[in-house]
Symmetry: C2
Amino acid sequence: MSTHEDHRPNAGRARRTDVARLAGVSPATVSFVLNKTAGQTISDETRRRVLRAVDELGYRPNRAAQGLRQGRSATIGFVSHDSDFGVFAAAAIKGAHEASIRHGNLLLLVNTGGSNSQAAQLVGELLDRQTDALIFAAAGTRSVVVPESAEKVPTILVNCYVTGDALPSVLPDEARGGREATQALLDLGHRDIAYLTGTVSSWATKARLRGFREALSGAGLDPRDHTVLPGNYHADSGYELARTLLRRGPLPTAIMCGNDRMAFGALLALLEAGVRVPEDVSVMGYDDQFQLAAEIHPALSTVRLPYAAMGRMAAERLADGGPAVRPGRTLVHCPVVMRDSTAAPARPARG
Amino acid sequence: MSTHEDHRPNAGRARRTDVARLAGVSPATVSFVLNKTAGQTISDETRRRVLRAVDELGYRPNRAAQGLRQGRSATIGFVSHDSDFGVFAAAAIKGAHEASIRHGNLLLLVNTGGSNSQAAQLVGELLDRQTDALIFAAAGTRSVVVPESAEKVPTILVNCYVTGDALPSVLPDEARGGREATQALLDLGHRDIAYLTGTVSSWATKARLRGFREALSGAGLDPRDHTVLPGNYHADSGYELARTLLRRGPLPTAIMCGNDRMAFGALLALLEAGVRVPEDVSVMGYDDQFQLAAEIHPALSTVRLPYAAMGRMAAERLADGGPAVRPGRTLVHCPVVMRDSTAAPARPARG
DNA sequence: TTGAAAGCGCTAACAT
DNA sequence: ATGTTAGCGCTTTCAA
């Protein structure tokens, strides 16, 4: 078509002026048609001509240029603030992405490796690219330090929070999760439940443990009668703690674990010792970890950590407009998922 | 500082003209200093003044504007072409991100959910935002259809390929992985090795199986003497196939599995049957799946799928400049990782 | 109902 | 050694 050199930046793409020329209208008119600019009336005839030209040339507006003009990039920065970039981040991103797409936004992703200085630097890069908003996410729920510069755009925290809750955050309702998991076990008839916890210093562990105790008390049981062993969320700590339980004598009828990986380790130890799950003892996980909980044998009863939903909520809220994003915590429900690793106790409770 | 309204797009940020004014130079000079423009000589005195002004105002160039001018956004589109957005994608993204950062690029991420029409649409969104290049990644190695529009920018495929190999792709060297895993077992003294494969129709399964047979033949063994049972990469298929093995009579001395999840399922079945690993039988996985292989008990010997390295390579190559990106496959080595689920066989080989 | 023109913030060729 | 100027591709006010 054009015989002149095409070595300018946007090479190969039709520009708005090309469309205007082909349609025989002014460039402004093209914008009016494409943007359905309010307060602009365009004759049907003109609109048709423009649309045909757009189609013919395969014209797509250059969003970088639009962005420069409008001061919005239709892009949200997603900061994964963790050393590892694993299943959690993946799920949260998936949710955020899905919601973003629905609103015409895309995610610009960075991973800080858990370092605050990296975070500051990367948020800088994000803002340089004019991201309209920021999602700041951590894998293990925890307190974070958000780079100052993030204040320049609407920011939502996912699975983390800042001291004073100056920024809005979306968190899993761990206490309720712990409570409902315990309740599910109680409902099955269990009266002797051990808890192999995750890292005790973590926010999630404390909340889940609180839920555990609340449920026990609510059922008229004394939490102090129930074994609580501190672990660290790794599979091998589940393995070790289950062996400890085994060594100590009569097993409880049910074992709650800090997360699925620990439950998994516990399962291994139990099997090794010839203890059947769930016939001899019920095992409950936490997380509903992708490609793990549902697949192992027996399929693990667990509590779902709603990471995707949390990412979705954050992106949704940011897309709905900045001013509506108010500080404070939003707790998201963690539903209990009953599978095959739990059953009614076969023997009466100990004691 | 400024008392005039700040309701224009770039609100709050200092612009280049602000810096120029404060430094008492022209806007162009600011660019020259900041970009170290070749062929421009700036006096030390001027440079200092500019840099001070930059510092004082906290000036950072608007990359959207830079991009519009230069026709490059310092952004790479990462297309995760899969229904699930799991550990694989996470690892590849992590690698790509790391390399990108090093070159001043950021990743604009999309997830197609495995749908080609979604892929086409999302690649459109990516290109609208002027991404300089594209990385197209799949979780399970496979053939993909890349949207036509992707041809407009340099594109590299990660863990997938197009028919005819018209686009460069980075793939794991699965045949070698299968061969070396088998060889590791042979080196331990195993002569009777069963293979519980992943989905047989998949590219990876076929290649690994080929490697398995090559290694066996290389050791003077007849592959037909070794049990090969087809599975599907899920943990429960490992469980079921291991039970099949158990039922069939004398166990092999070593079991290779399609992936870590299957190895995991097999482990469960073995334990349940009172078979000890690695004392009675060695188990080998594949993938070196994050938070799984290294943590379970016994820690799983496996073959590492170098997803992060693959993502890194792709991003690296794209950053080094488009023209250097030539079609063809690049195979990346999958190293064997020996842990505790493998050992020398205790009993002599069957037969 | 449409067009002209002024910028968004920046780079780079061309002056001086 | 530094400044002027013409855009990059688009939106949007204002005028016709």
